[in-house]
Symmetry: C2
Subunit: 279 residues, 2 copies
């Protein structure tokens, strides 16, 4: 069972490609929807949340965790790897930023554009990884509310098309546009109407890299029955309602986990707080 | 010196009305821009942040703090009042939700619409306060990215007009639309083009209520010279660049405060984290 961790729903676009590429593997998806979006949060909060989420996935029995979220991959991946999956460990944590950089360099004729969250852009991690692989010019821009548009289910609206076009101002010269946030594949029609650049969703490439890695490291996961389990820190019913847009299929029952004394614990019910909160 | 606390820039639209109404008072504004937006956060995180912010304002010498943020007022105000400004205390904390409910009831012919953050709507505090004052029907809707549109400086765009119109779907029957987030006054033209309802920014009424309160409680603040100080948890240069759109005038030098061991401490420089974060 491979763990897939994301800040919310967006990582389901990655999970979709992983399940297509590895149909016989079992997956456990953990979406931190109760605390999303991560994009505007400070780095140390992201590290705290990421620790809780990967710990939950390890406790569920995963030995391999894929961090599907670009923000977490760009900010916290090395910390997570050092803390939980150092040399000699029987656990591994893989991210999406290095595969994304690889496929961008392999695709681009010389000028790569990136749209991503504010935190991903501020981290500079994608340009750093790209610079290790070639001499491509990189222009990146924070597009903080494209993910929000998708969360609202507005990806097919004129609002989406206008917003994408606006964020692409200043990126006219790029030949390849890397979608640096897992929500953006749902905005593909809006991107296609706004730019002639090649639009690059790294998720299929991430899936290919994972398949190669599993072939080289058979001890970290075994073939299963193609099962899928889902955990969410937000309301499970909201998760199930939104998930098909991202995953391309319905999700099974969604388990609820919530922060309790610094870790994510299973919860039978969702706590809804109304009115003034006293403590 | 009156403290004004907000999650970010939005409270500057309230400060603007406070300074118009009380031009001789000194104000200290604290914008928690480094951790905004609050609207999607869980209640206990909001309580934590609110404690740190009002403690900072008290330490700066304020004895009266106005919570300008609707989300904090709807979720955390009673907690803050109990903790810092109980009976016999020489400190007071006032919010915006009760004045907003009062002016909505006084204005509406019977059906009040509310747009606000997800947390404000989920709290139910505005409908609860309105129900204490009359028998008005209330229809509220979370409009999570209107604040984001304003943060981006896109309030004058077609994106803003389309988004406002979309959030107003289902609110056709309201006669009065209460702007339940301090960012929304910047979207007034978009609101005016989308609805015939009376659009109600509660900020001028909040200012009037504060003036009355000060007249009744002269010991909590004294007249000054109309001075303004500003503190921000985010980048002070970003704050100064954005503030005039909200306040209607330039702000003086902005001090930087940041979380340190559970409190907001003054910081000389803004820490910018790039690349992977290790700890």
């Amino acid at each position: 069972m491979i763990g897939v961790y994301d800040s919310g729903f967006g990582g389901l676009t990655v999970l979709r490609r992983l399940r297509e590429r590895l149909p016989e593997r079992d997956f456990l998806y953990l979406g931190d929807t109760g605390r999303a979006p991560y994009g505007g949060r400070d780095s140390h909060t992201i590290l705290d949340f990421a620790e809780q989420c990967v710990e939950r996935l390890f406790e569920e029995g995963c030995r391999l965790v894929v961090v599907a979220c670009n923000t977490v991959s760009c900010v916290a991946l090395r910390h997570l790897q050092r803390r939980y999956a150092g040399a000699g460990s029987t656990r591994r944590i893989l991210g999406v930023s290095i595969p994304a950089a690889e496929v961008a360099v392999a695709t681009s004729a010389g000028h790569i554009g990136i749209l991503a969250t504010a935190r991903t852009v501020a981290s500079g991690t994608l340009p750093i990884e790209i610079a290790k692989l070639g001499t491509h010019r990189v222009t990146q821009r924070a597009a903080p509310f494209l993910a929000q548009i998708v969360e609202e289910g507005w990806e097919g609206t004129e609002i989406a098309r206008l917003s994408v076009a606006r964020y692409l101002e200043g990126l006219e010269g790029v030949d390849t546009l890397l979608l640096g946030c897992t929500h953006y594949p749902l905005l593909l029609p809006a991107f296609e109407s706004a730019t002639r650049a090649r639009i690059l969703d790294p998720a299929p490439f991430v899936a290919g890299r994972l398949a190669e890695w599993l072939a080289r490291h058979p001890s970290f996961d075994a073939s299963g029955s193609g099962a899928l389990r889902v955990l969410s820190t937000g309301d499970p019913s909201v998760f199930r309602a939104h998930a098909p847009r991202f995953l391309g299929e319905d999700v099974p029952e969604v388990g609820h986990v919530a922060e309790e004394a610094g870790r994510l614990a299973h919860r039978a019910t969702v706590q809804i707080t109304t009115g003034q909160v006293l403590r």
